[in-house]
Symmetry: C2
Subunit: 151 residues, 2 copies
């Protein structure tokens, strides 16, 4: 009988941060965390990136992340799965996404964390707009663009 | 010309924690963190684990971790590599080791973090003693046991 998993999925209206897991599950020994942060890219025509702006259809994004967390929890025998994602503006250096996983041992913790961020990027209905010093673009490769918003 | 890497290696006389990287390197977008925590194992003869006790020959452990951090920084083009390792007692749930890596993108951040913890476990001259409710053992698979200390 595997230990139960605590799942904590949130869509937040501000940048995200690592949150200490307390109390830590006593039968777990490994914690793996991923933070995706706004990188200060330079665009050939639009200048330097000031911030990203994330847009989501929250009920669907929430459900997608919940299902993803439950899937990973079972697949990798996780004891904690946390996914926090920001909507709204995230300046350079701040984090838009946190994936935090606790497992018995490190191999599964790394695998689960990587699986979650890869799947999240591929499937979550969250769109990214790039706000440069001189212009705005929508990120390529987003699953869908909200109608009328594509640049 | 790759960005320079900030390396932060410490052997600490208390459990370790994630430390926010500030300022975050502006050209980095991915942060991967691993925390190894004391797991509340149960021994068939010695009862439940109360805490682990880590012992190191500090100058050599320090040098080993420094070299490992420099190697990973170059191999994976890291912008930050942090390795903090505790010596002394680490109770169940607390962390004995922190590996924190910042890279441009997530693939390299995950690879570097996993590489560092795997190599650290295999090569660092740090020994682990298990303090059970009823007895003490030395962990198997440690590189060397300090003379006269093996149980």
């Amino acid at each position: 009988m595997p230990d139960p998993c605590t799942i904590d999925v949130r869509i937040l209206e501000h940048p995200v941060e690592v949150v200490t897991i307390e109390p830590f599950p006593p039968r777990a020994g490994a914690e793996c965390v991923f933070l995706g942060r706004t990188r200060g890219d330079v665009h050939p025509r639009h200048g330097t990136l000031a911030r990203l702006s994330y847009h989501a259809y929250v009920p669907l994004a929430r459900r997608t992340l919940d299902e993803l967390a439950e899937h990973a929890a079972e697949k990798f025998q996780c004891q904690v799965v946390r996914i926090h994602h920001a909507v709204g503006e995230v300046p350079v250096g701040a984090a838009s996404v946190l994936v935090q996983v606790v497992c018995g041992h490190r191999a599964k913790a790394f695998e689960a964390c990587r699986f979650l961020i890869d799947r999240l990027k591929a499937t979550a209905p969250i769109w990214k707009q790039e706000l440069w010093t001189d212009g705005t673009t929508w990120s390529e490769g987003t699953p869908v663009l909200p109608e009328g918003d594509a640049s």
